[in-house]
């Protein structure tokens, strides 16, 4: 368990190994840098490389009140074999579902490389008692989820009760055991890049394996600048401690071209070592078909109608 902060507002928590200074973020320059990276022109074999990587990094997601085992089964099939007409297309990284659907999902992807990720901790608001959240985490882990996605409690964060947020992440990390923990910051509710950086460092200090932008339930989810801001925090943690933390932008990434921009940004910020689904995921529900369409265009030279790609 963490202790209360020594200093009133900062992160001077007694953490080992030492964390980078919190620092600040200049919004104008951050957005400028993100925009300039998005101008890279990625063509031919470099593009095919990026698109295939994007498929392997994708978390196919369905988080709806109307989700059923049937819907999850369809999603799982798509995840395992995204393009039935092209066996060369790799499986996606994971499918991401609500806790109740974990057992169905686990049954469907058994024996494949596709992982099952479950949201937990009163997703998407996080506004439930800690005991309830921990119980939910234990339940999804027991039912075979490979990855747990928690949301941080934005209420305490925005009222500067950082220790409470920190403690909660530590407890969820404990409850999830060996299962990979992704911590969702819900950046749209944090208001400033300074807060995004602070929350990123806080989550990583508390034991996050991944940090993730958004629940996908709010407008203004992942953007290039906010993702860059989080990647820079990850880089600082890596430089200070040697720990490699993963990143997942989620929400609003719908086109293959955007996915390539995200990967260029990753490549030029954290380097080639991060170009793996172990350290980067793209959260998306409608991106996959556009990537498949672009991949087939690169192979055949012509665009095909959307009717040739399955809607699941």
């Amino acid at each position: 368990m963490a202790q209360a902060p020594v200093l009133p507002r900062g992160f001077e928590l007694p953490l080992e190994p030492r964390l980078p200074r919190v620092g600040s973020v200049d919004a104008v320059a951050l957005e400028e840098r993100a925009a300039s990276l998005a101008k890279r022109s990625i063509k031919r074999e470099a593009k095919v490389f990026a698109l295939e990587l994007a498929v392997r990094m994708m978390d196919l997601t369905t988080l709806e009140g109307q989700d059923t085992p049937g819907k999850v089964a369809a999603l799982a099939s798509k995840a395992i074999r995204p393009d039935p007409s092209d066996a060369g297309i790799p499986s996606v990284a994971a499918i991401c579902v609500y806790p109740n659907l974990v057992p169905s999902a686990v049954a469907r992807v058994e024996g494949t490389s596709v992982k099952v990720a479950s949201v937990a901790t009163a997703f998407p608001s996080g506004q439930s008692p800690i005991e309830t959240k921990l119980e939910e985490v234990r339940w999804v882990v027991e039912n075979g989820a490979d990855e747990v996605h928690m949301v941080i409690d934005r209420g305490p964060f925005l009222s500067n009760r950082y220790a409470k947020v920190y403690d909660e992440i530590v407890q969820v990390k404990e409850a999830s055991g060996q299962v990979r923990l992704k911590v969702i910051l819900e950046v749209a509710e944090l208001g400033t890049y300074d807060n995004v950086r602070r929350a990123s460092l806080l989550a990583m200090a508390a034991g996050a394996d991944f940090i993730k932008t958004s629940t996908g339930k709010l407008p203004g989810a992942a953007t290039l600048p906010v993702t860059l801001c989080m990647l820079e925090a990850i880089r600082d943690v890596y430089e200070e401690t040697g720990r490699m933390i993963g990143m997942k932008p989620a929400g609003g990434i719908r086109q293959a071209k955007q996915a390539v921009h995200y990967l260029v940004q990753l490549h030029e910020t954290l380097g080639v070592e991060w170009l793996t689904p172990d350290l980067y995921r793209l959260g998306a529900s409608s991106l996959l078909n556009d990537v498949l369409m672009q991949l087939r265009k690169e192979k055949t030279g012509a665009y095909q109608s959307p009717d040739y790609f399955t809607v699941d």
């Binding site: 973020v25 200049d26 104008v28 320059a29 990026a50 990587l53 060996q178 170009l275 172990d278």
Partner: protein, 497 residues
């Protein structure tokens, strides 16, 4: 899962992700084999020529004229004629119309000009496309707006055009410097003889075609090409009422000596050795971007480049570490490739000068860092360079290198930062990086530099005046201030001229 199983779970990491070449099409621009001087709205066959090349490949691009004093005089006479017989007398709204036309044509032909600028100058296409061309058009738009409002810009002073302006521009931003010079001169009612730099005449020569398209009356803008001899002839010409020069301090001093006592007006925009000052509370990753943009933008061929980095001692290590890491991601190479960040050095002569100064830095004891990068075999190239352990007395901390070479120094207090920043014969620009607004203002009051950027660097806007202190020159370009050197007023000389 055991730790071992988790390891086996890992997917392999690729060795590299090499971006495929993404060249902009060279066919966007068509060049003649040979160009003359553009005088009185027609091409004057030159008596002497030289070959202009692409510094990235040393490939010859075209033959251009080396103007003789007689050819320069012909251009001055054409400008005088246009001034006396038309241009100074037409309505100011009419003048504005031509400037608006030029601005729009530059926008329409932006891709063509961008390719030519990169081809002849060596700068990355993304920079000529995203910086040089938009700003060049913006300058014409901006001064077009002033052309019929001079009475309001200088109330009760009866602003009048000076006459014939002789304008000599450098090779680092050929078209942009052309627009900085021509736009205010025409807006104020002057006519112009422009001499582009020896190594980069082509965009100015293509600009003559823009003037034709805009139907600018003949003789209002004349373009003569050649080396320093052509520039000297223009400076000496008695038919010129005002000289505007952007270039080296050495040549600037010679021009000032030449014009002393002649009554001809002069503005000089010369060298710089700007300090980029990083305080320990700055947003570090963004400051590092600013450092990179400050010195590696346009291969460091920028008079206001942030060539001296002053870092507060407490953050020296992380800043240098981040900077070195960032340098490894800079892509040096083909200027026409859309992914190139750093292009070719403009000329062999400039490359020699950079090499000589870098050698002196190593000999004086500074520590050099260059990221691993493969430079093309042909052409003029220099890897992005950082010097640490630099003392204020080293040549690399004092002299303008005009290349992609950064000298890193440290300071402890704001007072020391100001003292070190001002301790240079130059005073063109400075950068301050801090989250503290009051400190920005405190610093800006004390820095002896024409431009002080706060939490940014190398940012330009036509409405913002630009110019130097001390050996960086005098007079301002841009903004309302930029009109003054091109105007005479009741009650004597303007402060700007």
């Amino acid at each position: 899962m055991t730790e071992l199983e988790r390891k086996q779970d890992r997917t392999p990491v690729p060795k590299e992700w090499a971006y495929a070449p993404a060249p902009e099409s060279r066919d966007l621009v068509t060049l003649d084999d040979r160009y003359g001087h553009y005088v009185g709205g027609t091409w004057l066959e030159p008596s002497e020529t030289y070959t202009t090349i692409s510094p990235a490949t040393e490939e010859p691009l075209a033959e251009v004229g080396q103007a003789t004093p007689e050819e320069v005089e012909a251009a001055v006479a054409a400008a005088r004629d246009a001034f006396e017989n038309g241009w100074s007398g037409i309505s100011t709204a009419e003048r504005a119309k031509y400037l608006f036309r030029i601005a729009r044509i530059l926008q329409e032909r932006a891709r063509e000009f961008a390719v030519l600028e990169s081809l002849n100058g060596g700068k990355p296409i993304k920079e000529s496309r995203d910086v040089d061309l938009p700003l060049a058009a913006a300058h014409f738009f901006y001064y077009a707006g002033w052309a019929d409002k001079l009475e309001y810009a200088f109330p009760n002073r009866r602003p009048r055009p000076v006459g014939v302006a002789g304008q000599i521009i450098p090779w680092n931003f050929p078209l942009l410097m052309l627009s900085w010079k021509i736009a205010p001169a025409l807006a104020a009612g002057n006519t112009v003889v422009l001499k582009p730099a020896e190594t980069t005449p082509l965009s100015a020569l293509l600009f003559a075609d823009v003037l034709r398209q805009a139907e600018l009356p003949p003789g209002v803008v004349n373009i003569v090409t050649g080396d320093g001899r052509a520039g000297a002839a223009l400076v000496k010409s008695e038919g010129v009422d005002k000289i505007a020069f952007t270039g080296s301090t050495e040549v600037g001093k010679a021009i000032q000596r030449e014009l002393a006592g002649t009554g001809r007006k002069l503005t000089l925009e010369l060298g710089g050795k700007a300090a980029n000052i990083i305080f320990d509370d700055a947003a570090l990753d963004q400051a590092v971007e600013g450092i990179v943009n400050g010195i590696y933008f346009n291969q460091g061929h920028v008079c206001c480049a942030g060539s001296r980095l002053l870092v507060q001692e407490s953050i020296y290590e992380p800043v240098v570490e981040k900077l070195k890491r960032r340098l490894t991601t800079l892509r040096v190479g083909d200027p026409l490739d859309k992914n190139t960040d750093v292009g070719a050095i403009n000329s062999e002569e400039q490359l020699e000068r950079i090499r000589e100064l870098v050698e002196s830095g190593e000999q004086e004891g500074a520590e050099i860092y260059q990221p691993p990068c493969r430079l093309p075999e042909k052409g003029y190239w220099f890897a992005p360079t950082v010097f640490t352990n630099v003392a204020q007395s080293y040549r690399i901390a004092q002299e303008e290198i005009f290349g992609p070479v950064l000298s890193v120094l440290t300071f402890r207090t704001p007072e020391e930062a100001v003292e070190k920043a001002n301790n240079t014969p130059y005073g063109l620009s400075a950068g301050v990086w801090t989250e503290k607004g009051s400190r920005i203002l405190w610093m800006a009051e004390r820095l002896r530099a024409g431009v002080v950027w706060a939490n940014t660097f190398n940012r330009f806007d036509p409405s913002s005046p630009f110019g130097g202190y001390k050996e960086s020159g005098f007079g301002r370009e841009g903004g309302r201030h930029g009109l003054e050197p091109y105007l005479n007023f009741d009650g004597g000389e303007s402060s700007g001229g």
